[in-house]
Each structure stands twice: as C-alpha cells, then as structure tokens.
Symmetry: D3
Subunit: 69 residues, 6 copies
C-alpha cells in the first residue's frame, strides 16, 4: 500500500507506553531523531509493535506546523 501522506520516516521502536485506549510509541529514526506517536492500543497489537521493530513514522503534510526562533 502506498499512501498520500508526504512524510514517511524510517526508524525503530525505542519504547512503548501502553494506556487503556491509546498507547505512546517512541521511535528513533534512522538518522537519530526521536519521534513520538500516539496510536490506539489495538493498532499496537495489529502491527505487532515491540521494541526494536523497524517502523515508519507517517504524518500528513497538513499536520506539520513550522516554527522559528
């Protein structure tokens, strides 16, 4: 499946913080950035996520803001 989301960044799961409905996934990208994602607990299970697994962080361009110092 190829998706319209313009931001698809390769990385590895570094940590999973499970909640009752949502879980927090900490991803370390191939280049060393840390990206935090909140997805449902069911998705964590459906994707078989676990620490060390290779994943992609996916973000729709309209959800990216820009800031300056």
């Amino acid at each position: 499946m190829k998706i319209s989301a313009r931001n698809i960044i390769k990385g590895k799961v570094k940590e999973i913080v499970p909640g009752s409905v949502n879980s927090e996934i900490i991803i370390e990208t191939a280049l060393g950035e840390t990206i935090v994602s909140i997805i449902t607990r069911d998705s964590v299970e459906n994707l078989g996520l676990e620490v060390g697994k290779e994943v992609y962080a996916v973000v729709k361009a309209s959800n990216v803001m820009v800031a300056v110092d």
Copy 2:
C-alpha cells in the same frame, strides 16, 4: 514560547510552493530528512519564511501514525 507538541525537529527551508490560501513548505532537517508542511500563506509571511531560513517542523504526537512493511 514552549509548546506541548512532542515533535519539534530542527531544519532549514528548502523550498516554498505558494498557493492561494495554503503554501507548501519543504524542510530539510539537520540530519537530512525531508519534511513537508502545509501552512497558510499568511503564516509564511508572518514567520518571514524564505529558502535557507532555520526553522522547526512541529507535529502533535496524536497526528503521527506508525506503519510497518
């Protein structure tokens, strides 16, 4: 100003594609990732964005999905 958004990634503006209401901003991160953002044309002006300017891509964690191969 310090914001709750968990993803704040440093980079430089690589390209700006202006539209009538929204503009597309291509950011190259310090580590070499490319990030695409859609913000309003007014924000481009308010922030004084131009190619080469140092910026941050900012994404709320609830807007980050995870994918696997």
Copy 3:
C-alpha cells in the same frame, strides 16, 4: 506497508478537483458512501490518481468525531 490508521475504506476515485497546492478527491466507496479527501497536488501525481482508480480512504481514529441528531 501496513499502517496504524484504524479506518481504511475501499473505493474508487469519482472526481478530482485540482488546486494550486491541495487537491480535492471525491471517493465512492465499495458500499456507496461518498468520502471527500484533501491531499497535496504532488500526492495526486505520486499515487497516479485518476477517475475510476481503485483507492482506499484512510483516516486515523483520533480524527473521527461522533454526532447525534
């Protein structure tokens, strides 16, 4: 690629309204619902979208609201 988004609905592209930065995609689902999506013009090209093409509408669960009469 398998994604965490919980809503992945099969359909066909019914209409594409191109804008300068964003385009509007009208999808008719297999079951007859109409779904409207706004994605970047570049994504329309990257995915090779055209009227009649089989596609999926993809929505993160946290972006779905509920309403009652």
Copy 4:
C-alpha cells in the same frame, strides 16, 4: 447545527471501549462499513452514547488520506 466537515456517515454504535480520558467508539455504518473513533470520555456521556444508538461519524476532509495498492 450544520457543520463544514464534508464527511458525515450514518451508522450505529457497535461497541464502546472506555479509557481514563479517551474512549474508543466502534460504529457500524448503514452500509456495513466499520468506523473507529476516539473521543473524550466526557463526550460519550454528553452525547448519551450507548450500543445500538444511531450516530454519525464526522470527519473533516483534510483528515482523509488516500492510498493505493
């Protein structure tokens, strides 16, 4: 109230998974699609949601992505 969101799909609540702050609502549409929504626990109460209740899943078009096989 009439809202700008372009996607308003009729269905029935099939399941409610309560969390501490957010709850997961599984909706079965009139045409048989399953749609998953995450809303706050307070909204579940405010709307009087319960299994079997007629509801609408509401999604802003800018939150709909498109994917192809």
Copy 5:
C-alpha cells in the same frame, strides 16, 4: 445535530479569503477573540457563509495544543 467536539465557540464571520480548493474564514467570537479556519470552498457554499453571518468555530479537543511563555 450535536457533535462530540468539545470546543464550540460562537462568533461571526469577519472575512472570507477564497482559494481554489480551500478557503480561509476569519471568525470574531462573541467575546472578541479572532479565530482562523480553513475549510473547503464547497463547505463555504453549502453553509451559505458570508461576512456577518453567525457561526460556530468547532475544534476537536485532540487538536488543541497548550503552550507556555
């Protein structure tokens, strides 16, 4: 229709900036705040929006960030 979105703020349309696909709506709330919304051009027409019309700005709680100085 009653919606799960937790933020529903009354105001009046102050300005409409039409684009090719999306339009920008500037709303002045009853209390004097200015709120900016981007919706599709079709929604502007469907809702009969025009300067001076009484409207509500509607925001899902998961789309509100918090910042401190």
Copy 6:
C-alpha cells in the same frame, strides 16, 4: 519560538484530568471562553502545567471547522 499555527489564545489552566497516556486540560481564556485540550501526560509535566498557570491554547487553522444553526 513563534509558530505557524494561526490560533493562539491566552488563558489559564482551570482543571487537569490525568489519564494513563493522555491528559485533559481545561483552559479558561482571558475573555471567558472554555477550551478543552488533550495532550500527552509527558507534555503536562514538561510544561509544568498546574491549575492557575497562564497558558495559550494553540490550534492550527486547518483543524478548525465552521458550523451554523
């Protein structure tokens, strides 16, 4: 830091409802509106949020819908 988000509304934290992963923040704006935000528990800690603290509610324009009666 100056951000592209077009809606930045000053207020004070009125209540914090902690969850396992996400927390709900109730903000009372300077003008008396109530705004509800869902952010991660870690952000609540990172920003040092507590009842009475001066904050800003921040919303990207593309996440604001418009409704009419």
